[in-house]
């Protein structure tokens, strides 16, 4: 009896192990460019491969993502790679360069190399917290902790509250809208007409914000949307020059008493408008507004990594959400959230549609879960974190 049981057990064990091994190997994602060239990488707005290998999971298709882009092949950059500081506040992809705002200067990644610009080069301040560029002129606008810089063909020009009509030197956000530059500062929002060189300032004195501390600004659909700390979202109609605001109907209550009744919270950190949708990040969740209806998202009932959101950026139908516990991406239906494990370089991508969740291990993953900036273009996703910047490639 014992001998038969041992044989039987062995067979079962071997069969189970084989099955487990097959299942495990089936989860190893493999991604290869179908043409075998670097064409896609070069056209995506980031430099060609720098020769370093990555070992993230590869897959040729992720049906669970339902069309949402999933990024892998993560490459992380820190001071060891040439960044001036590991504290990265913002990132922007401009042409074939990637600009990263750090605590110690502006870092530019081009042709596989980092180059840093500081106050010695004419930058207003080494703490660079926001970057945007003008499609009309190619000028790069840089918001810093002490002033605004325009970077044009290699030359920095500084604007501050003393030498210009700029509202305040603490420039949290810059946004280019045609010939206008919008800024969100610690002393109000401002719009600079680059043709007439005139500043318009919006503060609690002339706009429905209860204090002038503004974190973010963006435009879309003929309107500007200012994220006013504690003031919700201030909407400015560019044509009629009239304001209205969107605030949390629940007031100062930290719970969402009535779901989807309006903006999710008044402490807003960023706005981004794309494809007819206004996305708003707050310290207590995220909101989506289609012009008529609001929808709120929390970490407990959605794929949102965390309610505490530093920043978000919408690119086409996808919003990229920077929280203090990972990066979430969402297209209105499906979430893909990237989180690094507590130890080591590995992490995962969590794909969630409704209650359906799928986790994809990645090694390496993003460099840190405290995320402050993001930009995506074509096949690349760049993430600014508290420990360097991470670059992910679209998994096909």
């Amino acid at each position: 009896m014992k001998k038969r049981l041992t044989l039987r057990s062995a067979c079962i064990t071997v069969a189970t192990a084989t099955l487990a091994g097959l299942l495990t190997s089936g989860f190893i994602l493999h991604s290869r460019n179908s043409s075998g060239t670097k064409t896609d990488r070069e056209s995506s707005g980031t430099p060609a491969s720098d020769g370093k290998t990555t070992s993230s999971p590869v897959t040729t298709s992720i049906p669970e993502a339902k069309g949402m882009p999933v990024f892998g092949h993560w490459r992380n950059f820190t001071t060891a790679d040439g960044l001036p500081s590991d504290h990265a506040y913002t990132v922007r992809i401009i042409g074939d360069s990637v600009l990263v705002g750090t605590h110690d200067g502006l870092a530019v990644y081009r042709n596989g190399k980092w180059r840093t610009y500081t106050t010695k080069d004419g930058l207003a301040h080494n703490g660079v917290v926001s970057i945007d560029y003008s499609k009309l002129t190619g000028d790069v606008w840089i918001g810093t902790l002490s002033g605004l810089s325009r970077w044009s063909a290699g030359k920095f020009e500084t604007f501050n509250q003393f030498n210009s009509g700029m509202p305040n030197d603490l420039v949290y956000c810059v946004y280019c809208d045609g010939k206008d530059l919008w800024v969100a500062t610690g002393g109000g929002a401002g719009r600079f007409d680059t043709y007439t060189r005139q500043w318009d300032i919006f503060t609690e004195q002339n706009a429905p914000m209860h204090e002038p501390w503004t974190y973010g600004v963006s435009t879309g659909n003929g309107k500007a949307y200012i994220a006013a700390w504690g003031g919700g979202v201030i909407e400015y109609d560019l044509k009629t020059k009239k304001f209205r605001d969107y605030t949390d109907p629940d007031g100062f209550m930290e719970i969402d008493l009535q779901p989807d009744d309006g903006l999710i919270h008044d402490i807003t950190t960023a706005t981004s408008w794309s494809d007819g949708i206004l996305w708003v990040s707050t310290y207590f969740g995220m909101s989506r507004y289609d012009g008529k209806n609001w929808k709120g998202y929390f970490d407990h009932d959605s794929g949102l990594a965390r309610n505490f959101i530093n920043f978000l950026r919408a690119v086409g139908p996808v919003v990229y959400v920077c929280s203090d516990k990972g990066l979430s991406t969402f297209n209105g239906e499906t979430w893909v959230t990237y989180k690094k494990n507590d130890t080591g370089e590995a992490g995962k991508a969590i794909i969630r549609t409704g209650n359906s969740i799928k986790e994809i291990p990645m090694s390496p993953c993003i460099s840190h879960n405290f995320i402050i900036g993001v930009d995506a273009r074509d096949n690349y996703l760049w993430v600014a974190t508290a420990h360097g910047v991470s670059r992910g490639e679209l998994i096909k």
Binding site: L136, T137, A153, E157, F162, N163, K179, G187, Y195, R197
Partner: protein
Amino acid sequence: MKRILKISIITGVLLIAGYIVHFPYHKWARKHVNYITATDDHPLNCISCHLYLQKDNLLARMVNRKYYSPLNLAVSDDGSMLFVSAQDAGMLLVVDPAANKVLKRIKVGNHPHSVAVDSDKKICYVTNQWSDDVSVVSLETGKVTDTLRTGNGPAGLALSPDRKRLFVVNSFSNNFSVFDLDSKEEVSRLSAGNNPTGIHFSPDGKSAWITSRRALIAPYGTPVMTELTKVDAAAQAVSEHRNIESAYMMENVAFTPTGDLALFSLIRPKNLVPSIQVERGWMMTHGFGVIEQKPGGRCVQLLIDEPNAYYPDPFGIAVTPDGKKAFISSSGVDCITVISIDSVRSILNTVPPETVATYANNLGISSRYVLKRIHTGANPKGIVLSPDGKSLYVAEQLEDRISVINTDKLEVAGIIDLGGPRKISVARHGRRLLNNAGHTFQNEYSCYTCHPDTHEDGLVYNMASKDMGRNITNTQSLRDIAETAPFKWNGLNQTVYKQDGMRFSTVLTRTEPFSSKDLDALTSYIMTGIPNPPDLEFNPNGELTDAQKRGKAIFERTRDFKGNEIPVVNRCVTCHPAPYYTNRKSADVGTLAATDDSILFDTPHLNNVIFSPPYLHDGRASTLEEIWTVYGQTEQHGALNDLTKTQLNDLIEYLKSLRDPAYNKESGRIYRASLSN
């Protein structure tokens, strides 16, 4: 007998009466003229002042004339036509150089500046610097067929090589516009330097350089730096902002035919040293810059001056089609300087770079490459070569004619009279004096050099008097100053006569003073003939914006925002009342520097103040904002510390709207024709 007696008595009575009246009157007149002129020997000639200082009444119209004052010109592709911007007449003149004849006089906008011609389409484009537009002129009909709105102060312009785009340099708003000529729409506007003016495409059409006149604003003591802006023609974007050190007033640029070199005119000011010495170029030197058009190419500065003779105010620059010669108009001494490009290349290719770098300060170098000086009429400005390179056409602005120079023989071969008035009015003579360096030591500079376009050059100088290094002062504008006496920052010159009289020759020209006749003429021009451009960007028609209205209320307020009464002496409007925004008194506004003698400063007028940075007597404030954000802490310069940033911005917007009162008289009209003197 009785009749003779009567006549004798009457005559005697008249003589006695005249005797009684004459001497006191003569004494009074002498005293009056002495005060006005600050001399004791100026002729007692009532007419020289009282007639020729009339500004815009019947008398003024009788004694003055309307001149053309050609500034720039272009030539058709086949060389058969010249197109001349007549700045004071507001016209485009179409000239047949072979027939020596003006064919058409076409009314364009206000103060036309430059011309570009599309020979294929038979269209001329003319920038109107004081209309903020470009006139599109059909050469077939001789009419303006379209008008393109530009930025502020359009000056130089250039057609892209494919003739599909027009690049227009906006000299007052420090940017340039790119127009799509199919849609006639402005497609972009990009920043470029400070007071940019000239533009020229490289022969391959891939890039263009834009020159700037004013230096980048920096604290006094910082070496002067002026920008050359490079434009990527295909991308329609700025590809380089190159700072040219120790140079400014870079009026125009040209390329060699092969495109390997770009040449631009320049002036090298010595504003950082006290103006003790003029000899050896210690005030100003003049020359041209050369930029090698290869990656990492050098920029070299070379002088056209000589050790004992200077050639100030270089303006136009042109290079012959064979690339052998360059011509520069030295408008301050009425001549064209001819440069050998081969000699310049030899210097660049054979002299060690560290040695070449010293040539910018070497007055003895010009003999290596200056072939000749060709004398012209008064104030040669824009120049253009015929397509075959055999003729150089020179716009003699204060002569109302075009001189034609044979580029082989290097001599004037002909003159084209544009048909301006034959008579040179007193004010016109004064204008010639202002633009000519003949009254300065070795012709080193003219009034125009520090007061380009009779404005100011944006620099701060140490006009040394008895103490070196003291009393640093900001150049002031000469535009419409007749009603704003006294003059000079210390307010010690009560008239222009005194400003430009003996003191002028002692401190500035270092030669004999102007003769009485010349001084009268110069004063006549300054007092009557220098209008301000309209403030089209901030106050085109007298209607203030909401922000400007709020700013005006702040400017005129008597109480601060806390309800406290502002002392009368500390209200803006007390020292700066309309229409010239000066009470013509001196005041202490808390800006006395350690290097200043203990004085009060003359209240400056504020018309067109937006065009005059930097600010305050020593130029310490780079922008209007800084007058109060950085330098207004003591509230001696107006009680404004209760303002929020928004309110300060409103006040600044109002200050930007302050324009010449002459435009307020014609508030129904947007544009105002130039006085023509």
